[in-house]
Symmetry: C2
Subunit: 140 residues, 2 copies
């Protein structure tokens, strides 16, 4: 690539702080779509004085950068994911757990929309609703 990493294009400069590195590391090590609370607890184990605000702010910075993927969950805390490629999610209606689903990502899905009332569609998310294996067993 001819582009440089220092091409900030008008966005504010970002620093490399211990806290930010720890937040990124935590998201990478927690493979189960951690919430901000999960990340906070994980970072606290090695850096007890970090504040929730710092975790929230850094998750925001990292998501904007594309270093992590933010999964916005209806009626639940946002989840974070180490970004590989776009994919869809399923949420357990009993325990709230989020899992990735293996289904082709339809990048041209907007072409199926015949009328969005003038909306300029820029992205989409599909969230499946169901019951996870653990809750199936518990409820049976």
């Amino acid at each position: 690539m001819a582009g440089t990493v220092s091409d900030k294009q008008g966005s504010a400069a970002t620093r490399n702080t211990i806290q930010r590195a720890l937040v990124l590391e935590a998201v990478r090590s927690l493979h189960d779509h951690p919430t901000s609370a999960d990340v906070y607890e994980a970072v606290r184990r090695t850096y007890p004085n970090i504040s929730r605000a710092t975790v929230y702010r850094n998750l925001g910075v990292l998501a904007n950068r594309g270093d992590v993927l933010r999964v916005e969950v209806p009626n639940g805390a946002d989840r974070y994911d180490f970004f590989n490629e776009p994919h869809y999610h399923a949420k357990c209606r009993v325990c709230g757990r989020i899992v990735d689903v293996d289904m082709p990502y339809e990048s041209d899905i907007a072409s199926k929309v015949s009328d969005a009332h003038g909306f300029a569609i820029e992205g989409h998310e599909i969230i499946f609703d169901g019951v996870c294996p653990a809750c199936q067993k518990a409820g049976a």
Copy 2:
């Protein structure tokens, strides 16, 4: 503990209260995916003493009954819709407005999922992300 309740099939009996009727009427008359706050304001115009808690509780009852459709929006208040048939939604990333999109509802979409880690899929929602016409004009 059988035999105490008549024919309610396990669900609690529901009453017809003025508040519940007004909440349903408000959702039917507000055609723009009202939030609970919108419904609260609408009902208050004719019934000033209703409380937010009653509005929330009744929206829940009506959604469980299937009389209204609850649209759970990531990072925003839930929206309510008079139920016709399942459909998808788009959310403006600037102002948060929700609109219906005109796209075929894929009731068999779960057949496209090759692996959901044992999830029993029961439903799905697609939320498009974009910019509404008003915000396009305002931002241009």
